[in-house]
């Protein structure tokens, strides 16, 4: 056991901190889930890329620094500590990129990753469909063989920031006779291709953070397939591991929220011991998450694959995030109904137990694959 950082890691932290303190935009940018705000966030992403902070853990050839997973954690901690803007590129960087690294050909990696890092291509996820949510295997969007490649037809929904993105990665059924997890293929699709229509719509807070994507005979090639025809489910599951686990939600996000919560308690001059106790519990939950993550990353750094424990991870952070925001709203009293700051954060936090596999599904997975209970 050694919970200290190496000198190299401390140097990395110092460099990140100093750059972020000098560069994080003030005042905070408008929401990246609105058309205007997205454009400003894009500028920020390009700035990050130019300074090689966009994808610190990627190899240098693709725009990264070859940073270790520990340094990635440190960067995240510093990024959120500094109040860095939401990462509008995150669905590409955190969900697609790990899959490209694992399953992409060298040509695909070269084609996709640098442009993703530079925020030239903006990727959104095309998995859910009106009839396939928690039950992702219920996908009916299809890819039909053509002379030159494939023709995609169907409808995707709940595509985060789909209206502002340039490309979509998604699952399509290539074997018309298949059902459930079989016969699916993972496609990479430019959103400006003929036959695609994208309709943005509101999240809970009204920002246009979602889109529906309608595909009608969209032509793509074999080069746009990631990981082989019919392999879509297992390829996608690699991404799901990332989505649920460490990468999407680093501890630094929550320790930063807790710091703001403690400041809020001070600013509101809270004298109610129940509220103070809830703030302490929030700090504890975030600290436990940080330590659980250090333990998990030690295991990953030792060569282990992320497993079903990532379900426990997702349940913890998503429900903690809601409690942290509920505590902040309680500190604010009736003024909490004003729709900015903590209330918007609360609305966003409420998506945690729903997206990337509902927490009901996560608890099933934890029970079946971590504890070994029988599938029903």
């Amino acid at each position: 056991m050694d919970l200290t950082w190496s000198a190299e890691d401390e140097d990395f932290r110092a460099e990140a901190r100093s750059w972020l303190e000098a560069n994080v935009p003030r005042p905070a940018l408008a929401s990246g889930d609105t058309r205007d705000g997205f454009a400003r966030h894009l500028d920020w992403e390009k700035r990050l890329f130019e300074n090689r902070w966009a994808v610190v853990s990627w190899p240098e050839e693709f725009g990264g620094r070859g940073a270790s997973i520990w340094q990635w954690l440190i960067f995240e901690e510093e990024y959120y500590r500094a109040g860095g803007p939401q990462r509008v590129t995150q669905n590409g960087i955190f969900l697609l990129a790990p899959t490209v690294f694992e399953f992409g050909t060298a040509a695909q990696q070269a084609r996709i990753l640098p442009r993703m890092a530079a925020a030239d291509d903006l990727w959104c996820q095309g998995w859910s469909e009106p009839g396939a949510g928690s039950d992702l295997a219920g996908i009916t969007s299809r890819a039909e063989r053509t002379d030159g490649g494939w023709s995609l037809t169907g409808q995707k929904i709940w595509t985060t920031r789909g209206a502002f993105c340039t490309h979509l990665f998604g699952l399509f059924r290539t074997d018309p006779d298949s059902s459930r997890h079989k016969g699916l293929t993972y496609f990479l699709v430019p959103l400006d291709a003929p036959g695609i229509e994208v309709r943005g719509f509101g999240r809970l807070d009204g920002d246009e953070g979602f889109a529906e994507v309608f595909l009608d005979g969209v032509e793509v090639t074999d080069d746009d397939i990631l990981g082989g025809v019919g392999q879509g489910w297992s390829v996608a599951m690699a991404t799901t591991g990332s989505e649920r686990g460490l990468t999407l939600r680093s501890p630094g996000r929550f320790t930063a929220v807790v710091d703001r919560l403690i400041s809020l308690a001070a600013a509101e001059q809270t004298s109610d011991p129940l509220l103070i106790d809830r703030v302490v519990q929030g700090w504890m939950d975030a600290e436990a998450y940080r330590l659980f993550t250090l333990q998990a990353v030690t295991s990953l750094a030792g060569g282990a694959k992320p497993g079903a424990e990532s379900s426990l991870n997702k349940i913890w952070w998503s429900e903690m995030d809601i409690r942290l925001h509920e505590t902040a709203l309680a500190l604010q009293g009736p003024a909490a109904e004003i729709d900015d700051g903590w209330m918007k954060g609360f609305e966003f936090a409420l998506s945690g137990p729903i997206y990337a596999g509902t927490n009901e599904i996560q608890r099933n997975i934890a029970a079946e694959r971590v504890l070994g209970l029988p599938r029903s």
Binding site: G133, G333, A335
Partner: protein, 320 residues
């Protein structure tokens, strides 16, 4: 001992429910979301007055129908059920009961001419700020010219909320915050019941894994928990109303019980309703969010559950 409602009370509740179903459905609410101050939103106000709702608790001599809190809470729960974006609780329950029984304004309230809004404390948001003629802050009432208003964007856009700061002495009221707490509790029971009912319908219909999601035990238990919370809160509201009507010594404590139970139950129902709707609950393209946001605005209004528990601690001899 009879814990229930008489035929007149139920008939009036049903009449109001019928009017609201006809005139304040989803399309109405959708419009009110973008235009909370507009005439289409407010067209329901005189119709409610015509039915006698604003004057429900106003003496007959002042143009009302002299009903009681029990009836009022039943009616307010109906307005919560449809998430009515009008200040009926504030006008018909708070103003109508907290003004002196012979106050000249009562006639204008009963007739629907006058709109009153209310908040518990200075600097807190009050709804319908654009349309209100009078502003209640705690136990005092102020004319529109006697307050300064800072419009705020409520998470519930239909609220048309503003922070109210009085600029004059105002008229004294009796029991305005008590009335506000009870009226809000009644609305929250209606909102909570609607959230359970909408969720039940949704999960019966929505199919995943080849079956309705409502057939999964986790979803069943979520909704059983929501129903449990709301259905145990409801009788505390009716009992508090009855104690207010009869001037029971414990009426204040019972109002606190009702508001604390209703706030917690509605928040729980909102959380569960959203989770049971999944992504469909997480878009403002779908109607669930109207009820969620009403809960978030009303649960802390006129005293959070915690503040009412603190008050009860004193009443139970537990304060230190």
């Amino acid at each position: 001992m009879f814990f229930g409602f008489d035929d007149d009370q139920l008939a009036l509740r049903d009449a109001v429910a019928g009017l609201l179903d006809k005139r304040a459905g989803l399309a109405y609410l959708q419009n009110a979301w973008t235009d909370p101050t507009g005439d289409p939103t407010w067209a329901v106000w005189p119709e409610l007055a015509e039915m006698g709702v604003q004057g429900l608790m106003i003496p007959e001599a002042r143009g009302g129908s002299g009903f009681d809190w029990v009836t009022m809470t039943l009616v307010l729960a109906e307005t919560g059920r449809v998430a009515l974006p009008l200040p009926l609780a504030e006008t018909a329950a708070v103003a109508a009961t907290a003004l002196a029984r012979d106050h000249t304004l009562l006639g204008a309230i009963a007739s629907g001419e006058v709109v009153v809004t209310a908040t518990a404390e200075v600097g807190q948001p009050a709804p319908s700020a654009t349309r209100a003629d009078w502003f209640i802050v705690g136990d005092r009432m102020f004319a529109r010219d006697d307050v300064s208003l800072v419009p705020v964007r409520s998470v519930d856009r239909t609220r048309d909320a503003a922070l109210v700061s009085p600029q004059a002495a105002g008229h004294p009221l009796a029991g305005g915050t008590e009335a506000g707490a009870l009226a809000t509790a009644a609305v929250l029971v209606g909102v909570g019941r609607a959230l359970v009912a909408m969720s039940v319908e949704y999960v019966k219909d929505r199919q995943q894994f080849g079956v309705p999601v409502g057939s999964f035990q986790a979803v069943k238990h979520h909704l059983a928990n929501a129903a449990l919370a709301v259905e145990f809160a409801a009788p505390t509201v009716w009992a508090a109303a009855w104690e207010m009507d009869t001037g029971a010594q414990t009426a204040g404590r019972s109002v606190s019980l009702a508001k604390a139970m209703a706030s917690d139950a509605a928040e729980r129902a909102a959380r569960i309703a959203l989770q049971c709707h999944g992504a469909m609950g997480y878009t403002d393209d779908y109607h669930l969010h109207f009820w969620l946001k009403r809960v978030w605005a009303l649960a802390p209004a006129f005293g959070s559950a915690r503040s009412h528990r603190l008050r009860m601690a004193g009443q139970l001899g537990l304060a230190r």
